[in-house]
Subunit: 182 residues, 2 copies
């Protein structure tokens, strides 16, 4: 089994704002504002969700583990909390906000100088039960990837018809790997 | 049904090299060189495949449609052709090569000044049968997205164990949307 390497996790986490900016900034709204249907998210919504995670999920939960261990469960994450983040904002503003919050959070994470003993510390997830700080931080990176995966899929969905017979060759159009609340 | 807008397609196509560079350049090899198991691709392999497509697939097929219509079928695309592209190269070199070839191809595409009549022209795919130039160009963009989707999935796969119980919440770890030969 692969060990979790915190430097690999940070390497990925610090890139995501630039990746999303390169992909989405000034892209036509036909790509960024359309979803996969009712009650599904557009790329714009996903960036709002990532902002909400920076504010209320990852480092907040890391602090709870370090201060309270298993004695205090995390607050459940509000999957609809992104609605407040995106209201009245442009996609460019959201991308800037995400980059700012991510940089702040990674600054705090690096400042903690976590060693293996810290990474092994345990906390209590309200639904999943006991988790470690290592698992939380690895999930932060994998969560970026699940949403990059989702954004690619939501965007490709917009081309489902216009690719004609090629649709059967494009794996992204067969994807059923949708995420649940984290 | 959504109409294909060539400007939307070009907007996406011209971004992909910067997206992949932001995501992959100088990223630890634990992310970029690992695959999902035997006979599957790493992110590094995918960039080689994209290079091979720039050389032998999209604009080459567009030229065949414009010159020969349905009278001459496309060459079948060699899904293993990336092996030659990646041999002895670093990931940084591959990313540079992809960006150079993509810019050249988009320069040629823009130079064609395609109108609706051109986009409706038909060609012959060796397996799929009759396709249009519009479908070919839309597929070029959707193909970028299917490989961004794949790269996110292949990278997330490396964290399948280290995220612990969160694996059940991460849609990317449940994805079965793998691509076939194009």
């Amino acid at each position: 089994m692969m060990e979790h390497n915190l430097q690999d996790t940070i390497s990925l986490l610090c890139r995501t704002p630039a990746v999303l900016s390169a992909l989405l900034r000034d892209l036509p709204e036909a790509w960024t504002l359309r979803s996969e249907g009712e009650n599904t998210w557009s790329a714009f919504d996903v960036v709002g969700h990532l902002i909400h995670g920076e504010r209320t999920d990852w480092m907040q939960r890391a602090r709870i583990i370090l201060q309270f261990g298993e004695a205090r469960a995390f607050e459940p994450f509000d999957r609809l909390g992104h609605a407040r983040e995106i209201q009245g904002k442009s996609l460019g503003e959201l991308l800037d906000e995400f980059a700012r919050l991510r940089a702040e959070n990674l600054g705090e994470l690096r400042g903690l100088n976590l060693g293996q003993e810290d990474l092994d510390r345990r906390g209590l997830h309200p639904a999943l039960g006991v988790v470690t700080l290592s698992e939380l931080l690895a999930t932060w990176a994998a969560h970026d990837l699940t949403h990059l995966h989702q954004i690619s899929r939501v965007m490709a969905h917009q081309y489902r018809e216009v690719v004609g017979p090629w649709s059967r060759y494009l794996g992204v159009l067969q994807c059923a790997g949708h995420s649940s609340p984290s």
